[in-house]
Symmetry: C2
Subunit: 192 residues, 2 copies
């Protein structure tokens, strides 16, 4: 199916934390609380925030998303990375080997990450039902076309298909700004 | 001609000033000095910087580009505009009617602009020779394709053809970051 419309969401800078690092940052036994559920089932913005520091600066009050994960991960834009003075690779979530170092600080302590900071590769979360409708498979690289004053075709969008997902495109704010994708933006899938 | 390669340059936030506003900002008789010539013939980064202020904040040390122009103009990215709390339209350079207000401050005084702040519409400066080779005319809307980890096709690129220009694509840093266009980036023209 061509011309399949998808909702686009901007992903601001955020941190995923391991259970162990969460306790270092906030204290023994600390647990994340749900502030707001996100579009992906089970994922939420928590009430907890940390400061992220690199050699050139600190970004204060970066939101922690829950639930906890196996490894702590910091997702930044290139704008953020430049402010911190680090050089994260463009990666899919969870692919952290050799990614950039930074320090995360909370009220109870700090964690020095030898790796964990990435620029998220632009991606499409997709339900198996929508994947079947569109003929898209997990890990396919597709294009997303957006209209308007800053019309763009985003290439190198990786499709991730799972029954745990809802169908949304995730871009960072550099990409949102480049496309002037404000309000309730949508895009059209172009299969390569 | 298809597959015509062009050099891409990132345009950081900057200000163009009128002669009158320059004297308000820096004092009677003040003249801009050339710090560095830019790619477009006769255009230069000056040694002078100003602070730009909106309702939500100030960006300090914004470079003034010379020579002076008929009307003062502030070119920002959406990232900058959000920091200042203003909402500039996407416009071609010089098209300032109804654009966003802001305040510019220099060592001798301030200028309150009732209009003048824009997000520059992405554009291709082009020599008449290159325009003829590619069959592109002034004001044509073209696409620019870039490769790499964040491959993109920028649509809505306005071509501006003049014997006063050198052939370069100008993007702002939101767009540069969205395409991971670091180093010495180039793009390929696609005619629509």
């Amino acid at each position: 199916m061509d011309n399949f419309k998808v909702i686009i969401e901007g992903s601001g800078r955020h941190v995923h934390v391991s259970k162990e690092d969460l306790e270092t940052l906030f204290g023994k036994g600390f647990e994340l609380e749900v502030k707001k559920m996100l579009s992906q089932p089970g994922q939420y913005a928590s009430n907890s925030r940390v400061d992220v520091t690199g050699p050139k600066g600190t970004i204060k009050g970066v939101s922690i998303l829950g639930p906890c994960r196996a490894q702590t991960q910091v997702e930044l834009s290139f704008t953020d990375a430049r402010a911190l003075g680090i050089n994260p690779p463009i990666r899919e979530s969870g692919d952290l080997a050799g990614s950039a170092p930074c320090t995360i600080s909370g009220p109870a302590g700090s964690v020095e990450l030898s790796e964990g900071a990435i620029i998220a590769k632009r991606h499409l979360h997709m339900t198996p039902e929508d994947a079947e409708k569109t003929g898209i498979s997990d890990k396919d690289i597709i294009q997303i076309k957006v209209d308007g004053d800053r019309a763009l075709i985003f290439d190198e969008v990786v499709a991730r298909v799972s029954p745990n997902y809802a169908t949304y495109v995730h871009l960072d704010y550099d990409e949102i700004n480049a496309g002037a994708l404000f309000g309730n933006p949508t895009g059209t899938i172009i299969k390569k």
